[in-house]
């Protein structure tokens, strides 16, 4: 079914139109961008209906590169996993596009913003459609480029430009491993095609599998902001809020999770690799949650929460509970996009204020935002019946039967999640107002075009879990749907232990919310006391465990010093001397040879004659 190519084609066309004619289109850019996404979403629905029965197919667009025995095609692999990812990317993408009409309304770069956003959706849909590793890599880089462009969208602001660079550079570290992994796959299998590679993985030597899987995971760590490559994501909040919602919460950062799930055949061959995935996920989940406890910037709280939730997904993958990981990816896309868009609505209503210390009592002023965001928060913490409840508890259950230590840590993470999420909700919407009178007076609910996407996402948060996430003897309906692609996890026993686990996690979540209530609601809080480093621990958390500081001292500065040395001494002295000398020699030759071109026909003819003599003499001499 070659019509799947229409799904990326529409946003690509939209991006091109807005890029080339942006100046003319200006404020009407969304009339190009939004319909493109709607068309793309409808296309995804059609494709999803095709794979509903569980069938998979590949469709080749064209042969891309042929070089000796290396041949790559532009090919799409469409199976249930692809179908789910396509729906999430285009569906959430569509809502965020609509939201952006309101949020970016007064921005001078309106058309440019929609062009980039379309370009991102094009790249992301191509990423999930890709049927081989090289194509995956190309669009892996392409979404990275879009991320860079959108983080630095307000490029005149130095911090935004710096954050864009940081995201790009940190991702390079991960992509270095990813690139090596692809080369290794080529060496080991002689092909980069998914189907052939995963088939061949069954007989792969465990050591090779470990190497390839770990290098792939290195790439996933960069893209999905896992420890130790998580440092770029909080800074990425410099981008406009719809970007944070779409790219840095719902879709792009989950590409790593998708990639590992997609390549599970390679990871299964190596217990070492799976353990690494599990423990990196667990550590990230807890580590990022601790930092989220004390942040004062509304978007940074959500950013650390995203890092933490991505950790949960990787933990699930490491446990072999692939469908649980992907399920959490989907539900997280709903409620985290909702939370980000809600935060954007708050920022919009307060004219750019992002500091939780200067908010409070917004609920009566922004009813829709407050209500939908609270639903999103309940979804995130895992309130019974909402999306996060089903997806997160599936992961916790898998951990309980897989590794008790991981389970305990993840449960602690769930407690912290509940605390920081409701700390945010309370501080923003319910405690007494802490902003200036002027700002309070002007605080207003966002326009309809922004609140409708919030309502839609809230509805999804409410129904998604119960609709497809209720487990039965053969796993959840969601897991059964994905079972042609991802093996159903065997450890998911129900029974008394399962019920006990559920009750326990509900208690833990309730405790987290209650603690937040006691700290911020029971007594009025003063703005100065929030996020103040009174103890060493809080100071440590406020500085995100000093990881950035450490990287700066241990890596950035020594490298910089080395490169300054090389630039001054080696490059200027040796290389530049050589290159300039060579350049001067070429220019000198050029000027000399140019003089041969006299313009006289006689000279030209003589040269030709000389050439002819040489040619004939050569042939006679042979």
């Amino acid at each position: 079914m070659s019509t799947v190519w229409l799904i990326p084609a529409f946003p690509l066309a939209g991006a091109l139109v807005n890029m080339v004619f942006g100046r003319v289109i200006g404020r009407s850019a969304h009339w190009i961008a939004v319909p493109a996404l709607v068309a793309s979403f409808l296309g995804s629905c059609v494709v999803f209906a095709r794979v509903w029965s569980g069938q998979a197919f590949t469709t080749t667009l064209f042969t891309w590169i042929v070089a000796a025995d290396f041949e790559t095609t532009v090919v799409a692999l469409v199976d249930p996993l692809t179908g789910v990812m396509l729906l999430v990317v285009t569906g959430v993408g569509m809502l965020i596009h609509v939201y952006s009409i309101g949020y970016m309304h007064d921005d001078p770069g309106y058309a440019r913003f929609f062009a980039y956003l379309n370009l991102f959706v094009f790249s992301m849909t191509m990423l999930v459609l890709a049927g081989n590793f090289l194509l995956l890599y190309v669009f892996w880089e392409a979404v990275g480029l879009c991320s860079y462009l959108l983080i630095g969208f307000w490029y005149t602001r130095d911090s935004a430009a710096q954050a864009g660079k940081k995201a790009f550079i940190v991702n390079r570290v991960g992509d270095f491993g990813f690139g090596l992994a692809i080369m290794w796959i080529w060496i080991a299998f002689g092909t980069l095609d998914y189907v052939a590679v995963f088939k061949g993985a069954e007989t792969l030597a465990p050591a090779t599998a470990t190497g390839i899987a770990l290098l792939l995971f290195m790439g996933a760590c960069g893209k999905s902001a896992q420890v130790p490559l998580h440092v770029w994501l909080p800074d990425a909040m410099e981008g406009p809020t719809p970007v944070s919602a779409l790219i840095h919460a719902a879709t792009m950062v989950t590409a790593g999770v998708y990639m590992v799930a997609r390549s599970h055949a390679l990871f299964e061959r190596s217990t070492v690799a799976l353990d690494v995935v599990l423990w990196v996920g667990v550590i990230t989940a807890v580590f990022a949650a601790t930092i989220g406890l004390v942040q004062t910037d509304i978007k940074r709280v959500l950013a650390y929460s995203t890092v933490s939730q991505l950790g949960y997904m990787f933990a699930a993958l490491g446990l072999g509970a692939y469908t649980a990981g992907i399920f959490h990816l989907v539900t997280h896309a709903f409620f985290k996009a909702l939370l980000f868009l809600g935060a954007g609505s708050v920022i919009h209503g307060l004219h750019g204020e992002q500091d939780l210390r200067k908010m409070g009592a917004l609920a009566p002023r922004m009813r829709v935002t407050a209500m939908t965001m609270t639903i999103g928060a309940l979804g995130l913490v895992g309130f019974p019946g909402l999306a996060g409840f089903f997806s997160k508890d599936e992961i916790l259950a898998a951990a309980f039967f897989g590794s008790r230590a991981a389970w305990a840590l993840l449960l602690a993470g769930a407690f912290m999640t509940a605390f920081y999420t409701f700390r945010l909700i309370f501080l923003a919407f319910f405690t007494g107002p802490r902003m200036s009178k002027d700002v309070a007076h002007h605080a207003h609910e966002s326009p309809r075009v922004m609140t409708w996407p919030l309502i839609a996402l809230a509805a999804l948060t409410v129904v998604a879990g119960a609709a497809v996430g209720i487990p039965s003897e053969h796993g959840t309906p969601f897991a059964r749907f994905l079972s042609p692609v991802l093996p159903v996890h065997e450890g998911e026993h129900g029974g008394a232990a399962g019920v006990m686990l559920l009750v326990l996690s509900v208690i833990v979540v309730a405790a987290g919310i209650l603690l937040a209530w006691f700290m911020y609601m029971a007594a009025p809080v003063k703005a100065e006391t929030i996020g103040q480093p009174r103890t060493v621990l809080v100071r440590l958390l406020l500085n995100a465990w000093y990881v950035d500081w450490l990287y700066d001292r241990a890596i950035v500065r020594p490298l910089y010093a080395l490169s300054v040395f090389l630039a001054r001494v080696f490059d200027l002295g040796v290389i530049d001397g050589l290159v300039n000398g060579l350049g001067r020699a070429v220019v000198w030759w050029s000027a000399g040879l140019r003089r041969l071109q006299t313009g006289y026909v006689v000279n030209y003819a003589l040269t030709m004659l000389a050439g002819a003599v040489i040619f004939v003499a050569y042939f006679l001499a042979r």
Binding site: T63, A605, T607, A610, V616, F619
Partner: protein, 481 residues
């Protein structure tokens, strides 16, 4: 008595369509209306029909006139390249001629005759047809080069091109005569049979040397290149575009066929000579291009350098090497025609804007044109994902696999040198303030269409090269059986 060969015009059909359109244009020129706008349209229609016809004839091999004319896939591939080059030249001409006050029916007629000559050259199976094609192509081009009668440089270009061209044709004819004397035939297949029976025949090798002189002139390889910069600079830019692309492609078509079919027995001899010619041609072209400040002259030297790259593929030989040359010619045609087309659309108040200084700050006032020209230049440098990169990749790849490591090293070093003078133009467009005279962009719908076609061509060939490379290999494979 020699029996008259059977007449089978089918094998000449695409060339005849173009030729017939040329006659039609001449006739239409005599009747009202007196404006010439429609003649360009007629010429374009003829070329497009020939192009579509050529594509539809793919895989329908026809031979005619006792194998003197061959309409095989190889010829058809070149027909397509040549028709594209001619179509772009016509599109670029329409407003350009009016602007310079030289609208005339004979311009389009000559252009079409020249194109027909190129197509004949591509389907030649006999040295006499090669001669016929070269003359039909060249005589028309000599006149076209001098069509801007009010400009001294144009007349000078025409005169030089004609004198040196005639000189080169003398060598070619002498070579044909010697080969005929040695083998008793001018037909490629029969020459091949005779040459294989008597290897190392002195007459044949001398004849080969003289043929290479004649072809060397047409493709402008060193040391037969000196006409190129003067002619490229002086000729009307639309004609320059055709000389640089179509005529070069046609000459390559005949050269590859002569060398790989008729004189395959002498491959060890000619490949060594061409090795040296390739190395000298690309180096001289690139090094001298650095010193040029006139864009048309710079592109002339650049086109000499590109001939050097293509000779690398010919030296490498085999289906991969020859296929790479065909692919490169396709890529090169779009890129070079596009670059000349972009230059043609920029104008100073006192004439054409061809000095690199004229392009300073162009990006600020004409961002779309600057970006387009920039992409053509990047393709010439060989930056992915544009056509030029893939073309060079296939060429050098075939050379490496054939064991010509040093030639590849020279080629890659040359590509690095070339980046300097191409990127300098981009630096002027994007990083310099406008200086001196104001330049303006000439509004031309047809010219815009030409640039758009060329742009789509270089992006398409760069992004999905495999199908086209495949076609090129299919086209050359029967030659090398």
């Amino acid at each position: 008595m020699i029996p008259a060969p059977p007449v089978a015009l089918g094998a000449l059909l695409p060339a005849l369509i173009v030729f017939g359109t040329g006659v039609l244009v001449l006739l239409l020129d005599l009747v009202p209306p007196r404006t010439k706008d429609h003649l360009g349209g007629v010429a374009l229609a003829g070329i497009v029909i020939a192009l579509l016809g050529s594509i539809s004839l793919w895989n329908h091999e026809t031979r005619a006139f006792r194998d003197m004319v061959l309409l095989d896939n190889y010829a058809l591939f070149f027909h397509v390249v040549i028709c594209y080059a001619a179509a772009l030249a016509v599109l670029l001409s329409i407003d350009y001629l009016r602007r310079n006050g030289v609208e005339s029916g004979e311009y389009y007629a000559l252009l079409l005759f020249s194109t027909a000559g190129m197509m004949l050259l591509a389907s030649a199976g006999d040295l006499l047809i090669v001669f016929l094609g070269i003359e039909l192509m060249s005589l028309s081009l000599y006149v076209l080069a001098g069509l801007f009668k009010m400009r001294l440089a144009s007349g000078e270009a025409s005169m030089k091109y004609f004198l040196l061209g005639a000189f080169a044709t003398g060598f070619l004819l002498y070579g044909i005569a010697l080969i005929y004397g040695a083998t008793g035939s001018t037909n490629f297949d029969r020459i091949a049979a005779a040459a294989a029976a008597r290897p190392r025949d002195t007459l044949v090798t001398i004849g080969l040397g003289l043929l290479l002189v004649g072809f060397g002139f047409k493709i402008s390889s060193v040391p037969f290149h000196m006409w190129a910069p003067d002619v490229y600079e002086g000729a009307p830019t639309s004609v320059t575009a055709l000389i640089a692309t179509g005529s070069k492609a046609a000459a390559f078509a005949a050269l590859i066929r002569v060398l790989t079919v008729a004189l395959r027995a002498a491959q060890p001899d000619w490949s060594v000579l061409l090795w040296a010619v390739a190395a000298v041609t690309m180096t001289a072209g690139n090094v001298i291009a650095i010193a040029q400040s006139n864009l048309k002259r710079m592109l002339a030297y650049s086109s000499i350098a590109h001939v050097g790259y293509m000779l690398v593929g010919l030296v490498a030989g085999g289906v991969p090497g020859a296929g790479a040359v065909l692919f490169y010619l396709l890529a090169y045609t779009f890129t070079t025609a596009g670059a000349f087309g972009a230059i043609l659309l920029v104008e100073r108040s006192d004439g054409e804007a061809v000095e690199v200084g004229d392009y300073a700050g162009l990006a600020r006032r004409h961002p779309v044109l600057a970006a387009t020209l920039g992409l053509f230049l990047l393709s010439l440098v060989g930056i992915p994902p544009l056509a030029g990169f893939v073309g060079k990749f296939y060429l050098f790849g075939s050379a490496v696999r054939a064991g010509y490591l040093w030639l590849t090293v020279i080629g890659v070093l040359n590509s690095a040198i070339a980046a300097y003078y191409y990127l300098r133009v981009i630096v002027y467009m994007y990083m310099r303030e406008p200086e001196g005279v104001e330049v303006r962009l000439v509004p031309s719908f047809a010219g815009g269409v030409a640039l758009a076609i060329a742009l789509v061509g270089i992006v398409l060939l760069g992004v999905m090269p495999a199908p086209f490379a495949d076609l090129a290999q299919v086209a050359v494979a029967p030659l090398l059986r």
